[in-house]
């Protein structure tokens, strides 16, 4: 700024950003942070919706009950399996897709546009079409597998406790891998082409180039995307809720789903909140890791 320009008025410069920020901050405080505190508060109470007058403070009773609840442990185990399979599967498929879409071929633009479609679809629609695919009588998956003799009789994928969780994991992998592909593709494009040129002059093989240039160049993106996905996959319940509602039995219960079902169907908001709070605490480690990475990037 030149010397002749108007000197900034210190007070307004200090107040203006706060004025511009305050609507967004106040609204989020009111509709996000306040309800969260309320959830914490509810979790310390006996609060069943059909007895709204009884709101007795019970301290950690709900949490102790959670700890002793076998369904909690089942749901926790499913949540871990669910994350441990879905996220790596999405990442590998996303990485392969991104590497391919980074090559030169005539219809690259079209392929890039089409590959992201699953990500834009409503999860209810995703659940619907996969329920149809998995249908035990008329589903196309059974039909194809029967035709190619991979199975001898139709399998009720979603009604069988042994397969239901994995069937949903496949659906979620399908839904989420484009996100990885897009993130990784952006990461690939930020690796300078000259690195590869230098490496091939030095005689490095394709694989060595991938191992020593591509992967290190992608590590930041991979880490960020993985953390985000872990958090989002852990949280996502809409697909399961529509596909199986947690069933058969408890075979597709995950923690947030259990919390939701407990509150929605059981109307037990005290216990449901305690489950939600416990789940949040378990997830907090990943959230903090992610925030630390993101915080570093804020100029």
């Amino acid at each position: 700024m030149s010397v002749t320009s108007v000197p900034p008025v210190p007070l307004s410069r200090r107040v203006l950003p706060l004025v511009m920020l305050s609507p967004a901050v106040l609204v989020t405080l009111a509709i996000v942070f306040l309800p969260m505190v309320q959830a914490l508060w509810m979790s310390l109470h006996d609060y069943v919706l059909f007895r709204p007058k009884n709101f007795d403070f019970v301290g950690l009773k709900n949490f102790i009950a959670v700890w002793q609840d076998p369904v909690f442990w089942t749901s926790l185990r499913h949540t871990v399996i669910w994350i441990a399979i879905t996220v790596p599967a999405q990442m590998l498929l996303g990485l392969a897709t991104a590497l391919l879409l980074n090559q030169n071929f005539p219809w690259r633009g079209l392929a890039r546009a089409l590959v992201i479609i699953p990500w834009a679809l409503p999860s209810v629609v995703i659940a619907l079409m996969w329920v149809w695919i998995y249908d035990s009588n008329f589903g196309v998956l059974n039909e194809l597998m029967l035709r190619f003799n991979m199975i001898s009789a139709a399998i009720p994928w979603l009604a069988n406790p042994d397969t239901a969780l994995y069937a949903i994991i496949l659906t979620l992998t399908w839904q989420g891998f484009p996100f990885f592909a897009v993130m990784i593709l952006a990461g690939l494009q930020s690796i300078p082409q000259s690195y590869y040129e230098a490496a091939s002059i030095d005689g490095a093989s394709q694989f060595r180039q991938f191992w020593h240039i591509t992967l290190p160049g992608l590590s930041g993106v991979l880490m960020t995307a993985t953390l985000l996905r872990v958090i989002w996959v852990a949280n996502s319940i809409d697909v399961i809720y529509v596909m199986t509602g947690g069933g058969p039995g408890y075979s597709t219960y995950t923690l947030p789903l259990y919390a939701l079902v407990k509150a929605r169907t059981g109307l037990d908001y005290g216990y449901g909140s305690a489950l939600a709070v416990s789940f949040t605490i378990l997830l907090l480690g990943f959230v903090i890791l992610y925030l630390r990475r993101a915080g570093r990037n804020i100029a």
């Binding site: 509709i31 959830a39 392929a111 995703i126 695919i133 985000l228 947030p256 997830l283």
Partner: protein, 277 residues
Amino acid sequence: MMVRNTSLTRRILTVDLPVLLILIFTLSPYLWMALTSVTQESKLFTEGPSLAGATLENYLRLFRTVGFGANLLDSFIVAGGTVIVGLALSVPAAYAFSRFRFKGRRLLMLQFLVINMFPLVLLILPLFILMKTLGLVDTYFALIIANSTVAIPFSVWMMTSYIDGIPRSLDEAAMTDGCTRFGALFRVVLPLCTPGIIATGVYIFITAWNEYLYALTLGGRSVKPITVAIQTLIGEYQVEWGLLTAGGIVGAMPATLLFLFIQKRLIAGMTQGAVKG
């Protein structure tokens, strides 16, 4: 010539073919749903879905008998309302984040980021109690508020990265030429980030349109967005897959079209900030 041919074959084998396989995996569930939706219900279980004798009968039934039109309108109002609330609150906030350096800036930005990391279920339960106490369950207002919990933090981040991309020197030049700060905001910054505002608005619209759990919890008989309507269909018309898949296609259509339309810009914004998956 030989060399060119072998390298072309090689490319087809190592690139085109795998890409094609991935696209088949990506698109076939959707295409299968589309194919089912144009097959006559009576033929579906005897001959399976096919293009021969394609019909729009399922779609007509969807609107005539099931009354999908009202649900589409509900979704439209909720998603549109969320876009307005989200943009109105986030554009000024993003401008402040981008153009000012003040105490607590980093903390406030992280505050917006952390919101999207918390489990939805932690918010749904208290929001339902809150709306019930206020008598707002089953209103557009409740759903717009609920969707804003997702939309505001996201669009603050996305808009901040867009405004960051507009050189500061431009608004400083305008102010040197006698514009007030607001003049510079309205005459320089906002026009330049119109594409960003549109992309952010479209993104908010898509997420609000696709949202299901809030709609299920806070909606009801008078406000029933399309996602809940589809799920209700699954319960009521269990085996009528022609009708169900037609519902799926209609429900996915607006979001899919908008997405393809705005895709490039959206991806640029998505990969810059930290965003919902």
